[in-house]
Chain length 447, copies 2
């Protein structure tokens, strides 16, 4: 006999049910409609990829967290850890696709790493990604930021703060600090922890990089030129004054161009932050993170992404880089933010609970008629007492019950009771929809 | 350097893109709205479960096809092979849930077995399941069949044929053939292949069961009493005449009760088929399959399911059985059926493609205004020539392009051209939505 503990959830994952599952559907639906409004079309790549595909890009740290498995033919497989690498694999496999190619995807990704449920971090989480392949112009980034702002508003999350930076610029800043090329990526991954572990800890890690520790002046110069005070213009002016390398200048010019589009769109919520790093090594240009303006709700980034101009070309095996840029909404974190703002989320999608009193067969038929009016109806299939059925409907937070006894059958009506206040009426079956619409009150945000 | 073959799809899986991805969203949306209309609420269980959970039930054949993996802590894990076992695990872990508990789930399942792309069979496929826990009454089955019929109609698949049978009845039929208890499940799994491999092959397999081959008279009796000609009443009468065991009689009574509900609902599409077996060993009562009436389109079952009254009690470790019944729509097969009926599926969700002529920054802003009217708009971020951009819009099957040059900016209009016939007008920006609605024609079934 098995221990009942063996029949529980696996470690680091979660069941979503009740109001949280309804909320997840609502967020996915809302994001999907916004993605489509911005010209993205759906793509679904498989959760299982060849191991070679997933270890080809997104190297370093993330590889430790890849779930690996084999099929019966002993082939090496792995579960996707993000949606970007599969996109590159897909796009490289489909030379017939026109550019620009814009796709969205909403689906689970898998990481065998530490979890933090209070930050919405699980081993399985859902990424809602939009990416544009084939556009070099910063207009792509500008459009993505417009989308982000619309999405937050439509989800009821209010205003956003956007942080932008650029990997080319960071490269230039590292040249000034005389950080050698092979250490640059590692330095970026450490810099990425700035918000989490603070300046002193970052400095310490930088000076302790295995094999290639940075000198104290190098660390100080790097920090001085990334953690800069001032508004966007002041930061750009400062960096413009010290930037030497062409790559760095190009990065700065891209930041300038993106900010000018943002200006054109009257976006005052975009902050240039030269210390923004992002923990993935495939970014080549812009990096960005989007936060709630009200930081007290969720203070980690709800959206993160950037430009990865080399990955797709590498998958295709071509020399010419293929520009690509995109970002990802974390579904779990988005839902956490909404939960903390809206207290009154729907517990059920059911509008009307039919209680047959000795009329189960007829009531099944009546339920069918009402459902054809596109109303969400449940019915007491267990055929219990009125009292037990009422208690059940109440416990599920269903707004209306509809009682059908012999009397109602004869009169072709249904006795509808609103559970919030007991309002009760006999309603002709054909009028149920309009009656519920007249007397119902929907939960906030979710109808 | 990797071979580019290593950067392809894994074996037996598929990317869904273009019109197929749009169709999948449409089918999932439609099913979800029908599931909710029937009083089901959403549940999402994780794709990864403990291995013990997935090997606890659904034994036999299916275990060979389970994808197994380990996490960094060397824990034994597996990918779900259906949605029913995770439901039982979930429900057993949540004693606070009220019964009846009705949930739906739409998500991928994984089987490391042979694939048949022309039958919509892949190693990763999507099951759309509805299940009712806590209802013993055949009213639950009747409601499920109503749901199935509504779903097929709403998806444009037309009329259905439903086959029903009952495991208790099959048990009684096997008693008549004097098939010993330990071989019954195996005999059922062989009988399940009837439609696929034919009577003679089934007989052969039955007489060759390893260790316990059935005698020739046993095989003949089993076939005679399952492959019965006649209408539902005639089949019931025949079996009623020969049924000896109480279990068998109970099964027959359940069939009778279910058919009487179907009669009440004026369902003439339900066929009692005593040979219907279903290849999973956890069923305890009703089994059912739903087919398209037009068999030439897809002749395998699009829905399959049944009653599994023991599984949940087993997971909870209780002696008392907890009744449960449900079924599963195969998403891939449903989409195949729709594809073969509807030739004119949408290739893109984009309605209007904006082409800026030297006005990219302003056009981004105008695109935003039109998107706020909830229209799906794409814009040529690559800032190409009119000709190249027109060719692109045409190739993607986008219905309208909107040209914005200096002239349009001055007049606050957009020159909209319908690509199907060249109809062209200057439209004030605030009127774009109503203009497109007046002049658009949607693709069949998908708006």
């Amino acid at each position: 006999m098995l221990n009942t503990d063996d029949l529980k959830l696996a470690k680091g994952v979660k069941d979503w049910y009740g109001k949280q599952a309804i909320l997840r559907n609502y967020v996915r639906d809302t994001l999907r409609s916004i993605f489509e409004r911005y010209g993205y079309n759906p793509l679904e790549t498989p959760i299982i990829e060849r191991e070679e595909v997933l270890s080809f890009k997104g190297g370093g740290e993330i590889q430790k967290e890849v779930f690996r498995l084999k099929d019966q033919g002993r082939r090496n497989l792995a579960l996707r850890f993000d949606q970007t690498v599969p996109l590159a694999r897909f796009y490289a496999n489909h030379p017939e696709l026109k550019i620009p190619y814009k796709r969205y995807v909403i689906g689970e990704v898998f990481r065998d790493g530490p979890t933090q449920p209070d930050q919405g971090r699980y081993r399985i989480f859902t990424q809602c990604d939009v990416d544009i392949i084939g556009v070099e112009n910063m207009a792509a980034e500008a459009e993505l930021l417009t989308l982000a702002s619309d999405a937050f508003k439509e989800l009821g999350l209010g205003d956003v703060t956007v942080k932008i930076n650029n990997r080319k610029l960071l490269d230039g800043i590292m040249d000034i600090a005389e950080i050698p090329d092979p250490v640059k990526i590692q330095a970026i991954l450490i810099l990425d922890k700035l918000e989490k572990i603070g300046i002193e800890a970052v400095k310490k890690e930088l000076s302790e990089i295995e094999g290639r520790p940075l000198s104290s002046p190098a660390v100080d110069t790097l920090i001085k030129n990334t953690v800069i005070q001032g508004n966007n213009h002041e930061k750009i002016d400062y960096l413009n004054g010290i930037m030497a390398s062409n790559t760095g200048k190009e990065g700065l010019q891209e930041i300038r161009q993106l900010l000018s589009y943002c200006n054109e769109m009257d976006f005052d919520f975009v902050e240039f932050d030269p210390s923004l790093a992002r923990g993935l090594d495939y970014y080549t240009g812009t990096t960005l993170e989007v936060f709630l303006k009200k930081k007290d709700i969720v203070n980690s980034a709800i959206i993160a992404g950037g430009r990865f101009d080399n990955m797709i070309g590498d998958f295709k095996g071509t020399e010419v880089p293929i520009p690509a840029v995109g970002f990802s909404f974390g579904l779990e974190r988005t839902c956490m933010a909404i939960e903390s703002i809206m207290s009154d989320l729907k517990e059920t999608t059911v509008k009307l609970f039919i209680i047959p009193l000795g009329t189960l067969a007829e009531s099944l038929k009546i339920a069918h008629i009402i459902r054809q009016q596109k109303i969400n109806v449940d019915i007491d299939l267990a055929d219990r007492s009125l009292k037990a059925a009422m208690r059940y409907a109440n416990s599920l937070d269903i707004p209306f019950v509809g009682i059908i006894g012999e009397n109602e059958i004869k009169k072709e009506v249904i006795t509808i009771k609103r559970l919030s206040d007991g309002l009760q009426n006999e309603v002709p079956i054909i009028d149920v929809k309009s009656y519920l619409e007249r007397n119902g009150n929907s939960k906030v945000g979710l109808e």
